[in-house]
């Protein structure tokens, strides 16, 4: 008998760690990985609520999140590869051409 709130707080913790990793890390691939972590945290929240309300809609949503995450990971990694080819670096601080 675990209160649903605990699942939600766990998800919140994972989400915050994901944001922190995004801010701290310098390798662009690691930043991608932290994005995946954030998505997972959100999935956990949805599943917890689906269980609480006894509705399957939450799980359907998780399904779609997973699909989108897969597509996004594929395209994103392809972009990273092409950036590496041109800039020869994976350091995110070096990618500042949008400076005003």
């Amino acid at each position: 008998m675990v209160p649903t709130a605990y699942y939600l707080i766990l998800a919140a913790m994972l989400f915050s760690i994901g944001i922190a990793a995004f801010l701290i890390k310098r390798n662009v691939i690691t930043i991608f990985i932290s994005i995946e972590l954030m998505l997972n945290a959100v999935n956990l929240t949805f599943v917890a609520f689906a269980h609480m309300w006894h509705q399957v809609a939450g799980q359907i949503f998780v399904f779609f999140v997973m699909v989108v995450a897969a597509a996004e990971a594929a395209v994103g990694l392809a972009i990273i590869i092409s950036i590496y080819r041109t800039r020869q670096t994976l350091n995110v601080d070096a990618l500042d051409r949008m400076k005003s």
Binding site: F22, L23, M98
Partner: protein, 655 residues
């Protein structure tokens, strides 16, 4: 039939408006012939409609008044104002003056302005003036009258400043408009009071309300005199009475046809018309009537005294106009509204004639306006001479010309009025009549008689073209016969005009009683006295300016201070300048310009610019191109949004 008439009523003002639009927009490109045809056509048509109106309304069984109402203009709780025209006998007379004399002056202008640039502009403005003046006299409520009132002020400004390249003309236009505005303030305040106390601006509603409540006058209700005095302020501004007459002499900077039409026959009479139209209102306040009479009489003699020593032919006529308007005000002030309107009618004839003839004289001398440089034109410009003579005799009040009957009627009614000041007013009026006769004949002698003092070669002084002379002849004819509609019973006439205006000024009590009790002997005696005064003026002018030409100058030398006082117009303009204009300018320049305009307005603009620049500088620092910093700002932004969503619920309910 009345339905048909009503439809045509709208054409009277709208046709000149159409003329204004056509000439105003296309006139620059059109040839002069087309411009004048348009202007004349759109002025002749209303004149024809007015003539037809006369025929129908004078026929047996015609109603005393026609009213035409359109869709509502303002329809809110507490006030309803419609576009409504009202035609009664008073309106008929005014319309005849406006459209008839207006049409004649249009014809004259075709010849007078033939060599001026801006020809199309002149006729456009003239048509605009006709539109507004028609609206003014046709209006059936105060607001629509005010529209016409303001509009003629605007047209006057545009036309006075017609030669806008001349600084004096531009200044004169400004002066006219500003002084008019002061009067308009009075009119506006009167309208506000009317709305407060009567809930309506409709003439018929207000006047019926007053007649149904005679106890208001008995109890001494304060609002009635207040309204009347404010209206008098407005009329004083428009009709150039003391203290707001100062614009009219300067208005002579405009072309002569403008002076004839606007500043003699029509616009300046709007104030008199308004007082006559509101006679019910004024009759309820004896105080206001006395004020009107005093203002009229004082202005009359004041302006006449200035007019006696002016050297510019148009200035003499301008002061004469002010003086004659004073007569009309005097008439209204003693309750003789019909006499005032009668004088308005005859004055329109002979004053327009005088101005147009003066224009012809100026034209003949190629622009010379100074009396001291004129003379001997009698032989050179005969038709101008004869027509102008008709006008001069008319204004001097010599029978059987027009001015005698109307002026005499006013003087008689002043003498026999129940007003406590009636003797004083009569004496003032009589003296003014003498002075009028004097200065008009002075002008007559100096212009047409004696040796030619103009610096012209002999051959270039020429008579004007027929197109300018035709209106002169018509107006001269009217100046001669125009008074015959008002011949009083004592002189074996039947005073048509008084009876014509009876449905409007129906006040059977006072007038008839006075007429019957004083008897014909008094009237005849007073008439003889006024004729003698006029002849005295003629004789003195004859002495000074024909027989012994140096007398006037010698007299002026001996009474130097008096002469200086009068020839400098009693320094009224300078007084106003020091007392009112200079402090106002100091306030405007010092406080409004420096503090408000430069400080606050410009300052806030500059402050807004500086703020934006500062914010932009901050923003530039933030957009560093670094992804992680963007992520940082995102995180904090998300936190703020979440906080608002969570805690906003407590303060603002469901979010």
């Amino acid at each position: 039939m009345s339905a048909v008439q009503e439809n045509y009523l709208w054409l009277i003002p709208l046709l000149p408006l159409a003329g204004f639009l056509i000439n105003g927009t296309l006139g620059r490109k059109l040839p002069r012939v087309v411009v004048s045809t348009v202007a004349l056509l759109f002025t002749a048509a209303p004149a024809a409609i007015v003539a037809w109106l006369w025929v129908t309304m004078c026929s047996a069984g015609a109603p005393d008044a026609i009213e035409v109402v359109s869709r509502p203009w303002i329809a809110i709780t507490g006030l309803t104002v419609n576009f409504a025209f009202n035609v009664d006998h008073l309106t008929l007379i005014m319309l005849a003056v406006v459209t008839g004399v207006g049409f004649l002056i249009h014809i004259y202008s075709v010849g007078y302005m033939a060599h001026e640039e801006g020809y199309w502009r002149f006729f456009a403005y003239l048509n605009l003036f006709m539109f507004f003046m028609s609206v003014l006299v046709l209006a059936a409520n105060f607001l629509l009258l005010f529209v016409g009132w303001e509009g003629v002020g605007l047209s006057s400004y545009l036309l006075i400043g017609f030669y806008f390249k001349r600084k004096s003309a531009a200044n004169a236009g400004k002066k006219a408009f500003v002084v008019n505005r002061i009067g308009d303030l009075g009119f506006l305040l009167a309208m506000f009071l009317l709305i407060v106390h009567f809930g309506s601006l409709d003439f018929s509603q207000i006047f019926d309300s007053i007649t149904q409540h005679p106890e208001w006058q008995a109890q001494g209700a304060h609002f009635l005199p207040a309204i009347c005095l404010l209206l008098v302020l407005g009329a004083a501004g428009k009709s150039a009475q003391i203290p707001l007459y100062i614009w009219l002499p300067d208005a002579m900077e405009g072309p002569t046809p403008v002076s004839a039409l606007i500043h003699a026959a029509t616009m300046v009479t709007a104030g008199v018309y308004m007082v006559a139209r509101c006679h019910v209102l004024f009759n309820s306040s004896p105080l206001a009537l006395t004020v009107v009479a005093i203002i009229g009489a004082v202005t009359a003699i004041f302006a006449a005294s200035i007019g006696m020593v002016q050297h510019d032919i148009k200035r003499v006529l301008a002061y004469s106009t002010i003086s004659q308007l004073g007569y009309m005000f005097l008439a209204c002030g003693v309750g003789a509204y019909a006499a005032g309107i009668f004088h308005l009618l005859t004055h329109a004839f002979f004053k327009a004639l005088l101005f147009l003839a003066a224009g012809s004289v100026i034209h003949a001398l190629s622009g010379e306006q100074d009396l001291r440089k004129m003379g001997g034109l009698r032989t050179k410009t005969p038709i101008t001479f004869w027509t102008m003579s008709a006008g001069v005799f008319a204004i001097a009040g010599i029978p059987p010309f027009a001015g005698f009957f109307s002026k005499d009627e006013i003087l008689y009614r002043t003498f026999t009025s129940p007003n406590p000041l009636h003797i004083t007013l009569w004496i003032v009026g009589l003296l003014t009549a003498g002075m009028t006769s004097f200065y008009m004949f002075r002008l007559w002698f100096k212009t047409f008689f004696g040796e030619q003092r103009a610096e012209q070669q002999e051959g270039s002084v020429h008579e004007s073209s027929w197109i300018m002379l035709l209106p002169l002849v018509v107006l001269a004819f009217l100046s001669v016969v125009g008074g015959w509609i008002g011949v009083p019973s004592v002189l074996f006439g039947s005073n048509h005009i008084e009876h014509f205006l009876d449905p409007v000024f129906a006040n059977p009590g006072a007038a008839e009683v006075v007429a019957s009790t004083s008897g014909h002997g008094l009237e005849l005696a007073l008439a003889v006295i006024s004729v003698l005064t006029a002849l005295a003026g003629f004789y003195i002018a004859y002495l000074f300016y024909y027989q012994k030409p140096g007398t006037a100058a010698a007299l002026a030398e001996r009474n130097r201070p008096a002469y200086a006082l009068v020839s400098n117009k009693y320094w009224v303009d300078e007084l106003y300048n020091v007392a009112l204009v200079t402090p106002l300018l100091m306030f405007t320049r010092g406080i409004l310009e420096l503090v408000v305009d430069r400080g606050i307005v410009d300052g806030s603009g500059a402050a807004a610019g500086a703020t934006i620049r500062g914010l932009a500088w901050l923003e530039r620092k933030q957009i560093s191109g670094n992804i992680r910093s963007y992520a940082g700002w995102l995180a904090i932004g998300a936190a703020v949004v979440m906080a608002v969503m969570i805690f906003g619920r407590l303060h603002w309910g469901t979010l």
